[in-house]
Amino acid sequence: MKRQLLVSFGILAAVSMAPLAGQAQKKVAAKTSAPKNVPYARTPWGDPDLQGVWNDATSTPLQRPNAVGAKDVLSDDEAAEFQDQLKNNLSRDRRDGGAEADVNRAYNEHWMDSRRLKITSDHRTSLIVDPPDGRIPPLVPLSPERQKAAALRAAANTRFNAGLPESYRDFTLPVRCIIRTDSPPYLPIIYNNDFQIFQSPGFVVINPEMIHSARIIPIDKPGEKHPHLGKNLRQWLGDSRGHWDGDTLVVETTNFRPDDGVVFMGADPETYRITERFTRVDATSLNYEFTIEDPHTWTRPWTARIPWSKIDPAEQMYEYACHEDNYDMGHFLIGARERERKGEAK
């Protein structure tokens, strides 16, 4: 449906693909310290320098596709084939779904970030690096309350996908322009995969292009701790605190709001923990790594690593005014009421 394509946020579904030939393995050694004595490596006040505009787009899926088996890293030939198949799945120029699908895909193609069609340069088959199978760990049994919440969300999604949302509450947070990919963990999507990092003494600030929110991270030092907000002060983007572990910025975020869609994959905000690590690798790249755990949701913690590339300074980040021009909300709802009036609703 057009609607689904227009709002294709979230994780890339596992792609189907033919088994890949070849056995060559390339082990990925993640660099964990920034080089010394190079101009970009340090701010004048002595912290590793992460300032700049970064892009995290890649076609490498979060989870390893079943078709690649246990292979975590591909040879050059395999990687080329993997990239082609992912590109074919992500690209809208497929011409295999009929005229209506073609038109809808052509619309979406307009938004496609070209960097989104390339796999990571280290040829991994999943962004998840732990567990070793490259997959999100199995779920633990959900409590009856959370099962009920999940069922309500599923019903709202069904109404939305059928073109019959009852109210704005049937829309997800990204469609309502409340939060989008400005909330950690940062995962690549179709467009606007840009982040500008600002630093000042004692602070790192991440400004994702989508939505415009600035994530202000106070940096703890020995003898200079910034206590988290009180537990009754919860936020859409949580409350982040950072510290330097060698040359790696480690960010821990708590105090997420309990609303559906705030934390990853419907985890329990009370027990959800996310730790992110930002490590400058060289002049034009950094490694972004996040570990998520929630004993109420997954059987074990899991970790993903996404390379960020510095983009040309001339390629500016622009304002993403989501709510200010959110014509879609009215369109969807007015359309739904019109369908009901015509008797199209079941």
């Binding site: 409340i178 415009h212 910034h226 907000l229 304002e319 709510h323 021009d325 014509y327 009421r337």
Partner: protein
């Protein structure tokens, strides 16, 4: 010659009522960043009531005293404008009055009239410049060693990236505009263009066109204060450029931080409630 020039300047300024109200700060040498420029980092907030009205205004009951009582009321305040009043063209003043009358209205049912009604603040739209500076919410200046200075505002999580010594003109219009900065001595001067014409200056309906040009000046005058000035120019709406000024105060509470005022959820019933299935019945 020099003496005569000074005398004329003093006479000109003395004629402007706003001038005498300027707080006098003793000479101050600000703390500096490694590049030698003043360090403006911190959380700042204005304590004027210009968001209700840039000009002199009495306390007012607000639009719905029958349900809001004193909760909805607005505070009295003195004008922050040099000379006291905004120099509107006569025809533009009528539009301001209409804005005020329609400030609480919103109708997003027709695309072409999407932005026709209502104060953008009420709809939780990014407030634009200079309004963001005197909203009753704090903001943080993030100044590091890159050629960009970020201002993050608590209201609506609006942000502005000030591009220092940057040549490229605004590529398109934006709610928070296109900000380019430079240092003049210890003053950060920010030239702002490309501001969406839908932003307002206050709840009194004061407005501008797509020709708005704002030049802001941030000058540290003590460890705890920045003097803020903005010159506002828009030949389509005003007869001449005009100027506002007020101090910004450093927020000093222990552990104070910018919190979220993500107000979109507070506007959804107003904007979209009438299109719900419940409302249609």
């Amino acid at each position: 010659m020099k003496i005569a020039g000074c005398a004329i300047a003093i006479l000109l300024f003395a004629a402007l009522p706003g001038f005498s109200q300027k707080p006098a700060f003793p000479p101050y040498k600000p703390a500096r960043m490694a590049d030698g420029h003043p360090d403006l980092n911190g959380i700042w907030q204005a304590f004027v009531t210009a968001n209700w009205d840039l000009q002199d205004h009495e306390a007012s009951p607000g639009p719905h005293p029958e349900i809001m009582g004193a909760y909805g009321a607005g505070p009295a305040g003195q004008s922050i404008i040099e000379g006291g009043e905004i120099p509107y063209k006569p025809e533009a003043l009528a539009k301001k009055k209409q804005n005020f009358e329609q400030r609480m209205m919103a109708d997003v049912s027709v695309d072409k009239k999407f932005h026709a009604l209502g104060d953008p603040e009420m709809k939780c739209y990014m407030p634009g410049v200079p309004r963001a500076t005197y909203m009753p919410f704090p903001f943080r200046i993030v100044q590091g060693s890159s050629p960009y200075i970020l201002i993050a505002y608590e209201f609506a999580s609006a942000v502005r990236n000030i591009r220092m010594d940057y040549k490229v003109e605004a590529p398109t219009n934006a709610w928070m505009g296109w900000s380019r900065g430079r240092w003049e001595g210890d003053t950060l001067v920010v030239d702002v263009t490309g501001i969406r014409e839908e932003t307002w200056f206050d709840r009194a309906g004061d407005y501008h066109s797509d020709a708005l040009h704002v030049v802001e000046r941030y000058t540290p005058v003590s460890p705890y204060h920045l003097m803020y000035e903005a010159t506002i120019e828009d030949p389509k709406v005003f007869t001449r450029p005009w100027k506002i000024s007020f101090p910004l105060y450093r927020r000093m509470e222990q552990n104070v931080q910018l919190l979220e005022f993500k107000c979109v959820p507070f506007t959804e019933d107003l904007l979209y409630g009438r299109f719900s299935k419940q409302a249609a019945k």
